[in-house]
Amino acid sequence: MVVTCERVWQEVSNYLEGDLDPSLRAALDEHFHVCPRCASILAGTHNVVQLYGDERLFQLPLGFSGRLQNKLAHEMPAKRGTIYGWVVAAAAGVALIAGGIALSRPKPSIPFEVRSPLAKPGNHIPAKLTVLVAGDSKIFHVAGCDQLRAQDGRIRSMPAEEAEHEGYVPCIRCLGKYLSSIPVDFLKRHFRSGAPA
């Protein structure tokens, strides 16, 4: 079977879905070997599917989870001594301790020059939070983040304020998760943009 380029364009999506009968699929395979334009369209379309299927693309806004939990808490029937209440209280306690440590030393509010011209410095990040940076990257992370990689194997730890001072910007994934675990009201009360209130 011989297929035209027009037919290939109509079927490229079904080809990626694996939704073609074997003879048509074989014809398309043959066509891709001899037609660079269609091969390029297939590669590009495949890249589109792969990129948009990656969970890193859609990042929750910072604080989304905290705001959601607050709203849900308002919707809960009033109860005393539930497990949920204890969990919220424990989380608030941890956040208070972290905040207290962070507040112990004020941080300059002068914005630092970031290493990436397209990135923005983070907000509401406790100054004393220990973060990790790879010397050849532009981003700082909390321990355990799977995005932390160093080409030369050199990873340094430092307080968040120092990382910001050196021009690193926060990792959207791990810092986003960390900050969303702290009630947003607490963060707003104790930290304004990049500096303790």
Partner: protein
Amino acid sequence: MLNVDTAISVKVSPGGETHEQELIRRIQNGEREVFYELVRPYQRRVYAAALAVLRNPADAEDAAQEAILKAFAHIGQFRSESRFSTWLIQIAINEARMHRRREHAEIMQPIGEHQDEEGSYIPREFPDWREIPSESLERAEVRELLLRALASLGDKYREIFVLRDVHQLSIEEVAGMLGISRASVKTRLLRARLMLRDLLAPKMSTGWFSRESSPKGNKPW
């Protein structure tokens, strides 16, 4: 390929009930405080569904949170005939559409909105884009580029693309959710993928954010 489902683990109890089913049963029996545990793995998916409709992060957050609150209010009506995630995303899509109607958010004319679905689509010719793209997503500017390209698609293409390629719903599930035929889903999906390829390939194949703009009047849609 990473996808939003990979973060969701399925634990099965000795009785054959998944952890999710157990949570749903407990909530329906009045233990409503565990609702957040149920929805936590799906927050990103709900937000992405709302963003696909609304194209604006602030509106998408409002709609996503409203959708989760509605799911909380109506969890008693959920029946296990469909997946919980599908039910939740359906609520998010509906909520986002209502939000769009309320806010009259249609300010810019999206690409392909009034395009004839039956006519064939001619992909544009670009330098080859063969980069393995996974690592590029670590760059904020790449994510921004991808989200802007997605936002520029017409509603009917964007919604289907997100349900299928972001949420990995089956063609049948997408057709059922939107109340259209399987053939329409496939046609629109093809167009959405090709349009995105046409939007992204010039940037991805010749370097990020090339200053060269598309030739005027050369858009195939």
